[in-house]
């Protein structure tokens, strides 16, 4: 049995080998993060944010950093990708794959590159949306990130084609640790659709994905931002998506987790300009002994902003899910309109959900509501379907599917909605096809 300290040491030793963005400014950030990580390390269960998610298991792992081989053929990528015909940035086992990516013919004003291909120093754009002081993965990621996506869209450019970031675990290197940092900046009136897609070639792939995505939306910018975590049931995934929203901007965030051994998402937005609007949609589907933890946080900092959050979860067998949603309405945020809900479906006795929607409201003229439910398959619905000839497994599966895809109705893109619905159908607990 190992202590967390051992994995801390292993991570810290790795820090000197990272050479991405080797500029004095970036290196200074990394040094600061390293000092921070040496002080705090990974969060323990005593920390409120990690009360229901233990990193003990992760601490037992011996991660490796060098992939033995990172080649995959184009057909495999086509098979794994969520959508066709989009711009694509492909990272296999932590390494950017220019031949498998589709980054040509970008419109004027759109910069879409792998971090390793950047020519400019972007140090001043790093760590703008995340808090390094908090013990957790932010310091670890800052210290170790070695690749990522960089997207910048200039004023008033509206990119109509979707961008899919495909991050693949090929399974060729056991227990590979990958640390990625993505930066997304949309200037005034810019518009884009981005999918972050984490996927394993098969269920035998093992490893850790440690991800931080920083999003900055300027005035009236609109970002449809999807994330699909579709890794193997034996892997670890820890990710933060953090956004800053200026006046009139809209972040449409959808977060679909199909779980791993442990998957943790922190999604955070600060609405700091009037008429900024946030939509958060989430879905988690877990079975076996999987663990998934979603922490969301929304800060309404100024007047007249709105947010609408719905997370849904389906748990089966011995799986465990955590939902914690915090909405802060700050003192000057009058006329805030915030809605948050979390609905859960438990399919067996052995599974567990810890759900905690929270609102802290310091303004007096607001419209806010929140709630959570935990339920099971409805017996009247089940009997009805069986009385129409559907066998019990199909009927349960259909009801589960119906519960889950309801969240997808909120998504603006029909193509992505359809693709996600197919993925979910295949991952349904009990595997039965509807």
């Amino acid at each position: 049995m190992k202590q967390l300290a051992e994995i801390h040491t292993a991570f810290i030793e790795r820090a000197d080998d990272v050479s991405l963005l080797n500029t004095p400014a970036v290196n200074a950030l990394r040094q600061k993060a390293k000092a921070q990580f040496e002080r705090h390390g990974l969060p323990g269960k005593k920390q409120e944010d990690w009360k229901y998610t233990s990193l003990w298991q992760l601490g037992q792992e011996q991660f490796v950093y060098q992939a033995v081989e990172t080649t995959l053929d184009a057909e495999t990528i086509d098979r794994l990708a969520l959508v066709t015909g989009s711009y694509r940035l492909v990272i296999v086992d932590g390494v950017f794959q220019p031949e498998l990516s589709r980054l040509a013919d970008l419109p004027q004003g759109v910069k879409l590159q792998a971090m390793s291909q950047l020519d400019a120093d972007i140090a001043d754009q790093l760590n703008q949306q995340i808090d390094l002081e908090k013990p957790g993965f932010n310091a670890l990621n800052t210290m170790l990130f070695s690749e990522g996506l960089y997207l910048h869209i200039a004023n008033d450019i509206q990119l109509s084609q979707t961008i899919e970031l495909v991050v693949v675990n090929s399974g060729k290197t056991a227990n590979l640790a990958v640390h990625l940092r993505h930066l997304v900046r949309l200037e005034n009136g810019a518009k884009a659709t981005l999918i972050e897609h984490y996927v394993a070639v098969d269920d035998a792939a093992t490893g850790l994905n440690d991800i931080v995505t920083e999003v900055a939306l300027a005035q009236d910018a609109q970002l449809e931002h999807y994330k699909l975590q579709q890794e193997s049931v034996t892997s670890y995934h820890v990710a933060t998506m953090a956004a800053h929203q200026a006046e009139g901007s809209h972040w449409h965030n959808a977060n679909i987790s199909l779980g791993g051994k442990l998957a943790r998402n922190d999604v955070h937005s600060r609405l700091e300009g009037e008429a900024a609007h946030l939509t958060m949609s989430g879905l988690y589907l877990v079975a076996g002994d999987q663990h998934v933890d979603n922490h969301t946080r929304i800060d309404h900092s100024v007047a007249n902003t709105s947010s609408d959050e719905v997370y849904k979860g389906v748990m089966d067998e011995k799986s465990h899910a955590v939902f914690n949603g915090k909405v802060f309405v700050h003192k000057d945020a009058q006329k805030t309109d915030a809605n948050q809900s979390n609905h859960n479906l438990l399919l067996s006795r052995g599974c567990e959900i810890d759900t905690k929607p929270e609102m802290e409201i310091y303004a007096d003229d607001v419209k806010c509501g929140h709630g959570s439910t935990v339920g099971q398959i409805d017996m009247d619905q089940l009997f009805f379907l069986r009385a129409r000839g559907l066998d019990e497994v199909s009927a349960r599966s259909l009801l589960t599917f119906a519960f889950a895809v309801d969240v997808l109705e909120r998504l603006p893109s029909d193509e992505i909605k359809q693709a996600l619905s197919t993925v979910i159908e295949q991952r349904l607990p009990r595997g039965a096809k509807v």
């Binding site: 619905q381 069986r386 009385a387 129409r388 119906a402």
Partner: protein, 255 residues
């Protein structure tokens, strides 16, 4: 041919006896009406016939086309042609009507050893059945019964019946909640399905329905037993005089 034979059926729920010895034989092609006071056990009988969990059958037997029904799962009964139109049709958000109709039809066809219908044939068939119950096509793409009015839900049940063409249909108060026009439309739909190979059990509180769908037999179910049987005139008698005149009605029931 005997479609359904119920012999001395006793059933309990949570230890409380609701059906207290039902005897009923329905031949192929016959329409039977079952009437009786609230709480008599009419829906319980329908649920037991359809195979709902939670009831314990303590005595008696149910034969459907000579086969013992009690040991079959609800879906096995449905696939063999037993259909229950629910008194309170359930809403299923997220499952479209057309999906349900297709899944249900395919389940029956699979049991019969038939291939699934292709999309075009299926749609043609569904459209012809919707015509029968005068339902607009928009209902196909809405979630099953979600936001349907009471009458629309009942029509939707009859649509499912028309599509599945069961051998034995049990209609539990399909007429309640229907307006006068809808009652006529639904009745015409049901009449169109009357056939020498098809039997129906209609549970109703109102003589009105039986003016449209004329039954071969009328039974009064009271306190878990069939206490009187007759022809369609019995329903008229009940309409006039209520249930209290039925001498062998056990104590505690009646108008």
């Amino acid at each position: 041919m005997k479609m359904l034979e119920i012999k001395n059926l006793h059933a309990t729920i949570d230890g409380k006896e609701i059906l207290k010895g039902i005897d009923l034989t329905v031949n192929a092609g016959e329409v039977h009406a079952i009437m009786g006071p609230n709480g008599a056990g009419k829906s319980t009988l329908s649920n037991v016939l359809a195979g709902r969990d939670g009831y314990e059958i303590t005595q008696g037997e149910i034969l459907y086309k000579g086969e013992n029904l009690i040991d079959l799962e609800p879906e096995e009964r449905a696939q063999r042609g037993v259909f229950l139109a629910f008194q309170y049709p359930v809403e299923i958000p997220g499952v479209s009507n057309i999906y349900l109709l297709k899944a249900a039809l395919n389940a029956v066809r699979k049991y019969q050893g038939l291939d699934e219908l292709d999309a075009i044939d299926f749609l043609t068939l569904v459209r012809s059945k919707m015509e029968l119950v005068k339902m607009d096509e928009q209902f196909l793409h809405r979630s099953v019964n979600e936001g349907f009015s009471g009458g629309e839900k009942k029509r939707n049940e009859i649509l499912q019946m028309a599509l599945l063409e069961p051998a034995l249909a049990i209609l539990d108060e399909t007429d309640s909640g229907l307006d006068i026009d809808a009652l006529r439309i639904v009745s015409e739909g049901v009449n169109a399905l009357r056939d020498t190979d098809r039997s129906m059990i209609m549970i109703t509180h109102y003589q009105r329905l039986l003016d449209y769908i004329v039954p071969d037999y009328v039974h009064v179910l009271s306190n878990g037993r069939i206490v009187k049987s007759g022809d369609k005139d019995l329903a008229k008698e009940l309409e006039r005089s209520g249930y209290s005149w039925i001498h062998d009605a056990p104590e505690g029931v009646g108008a």
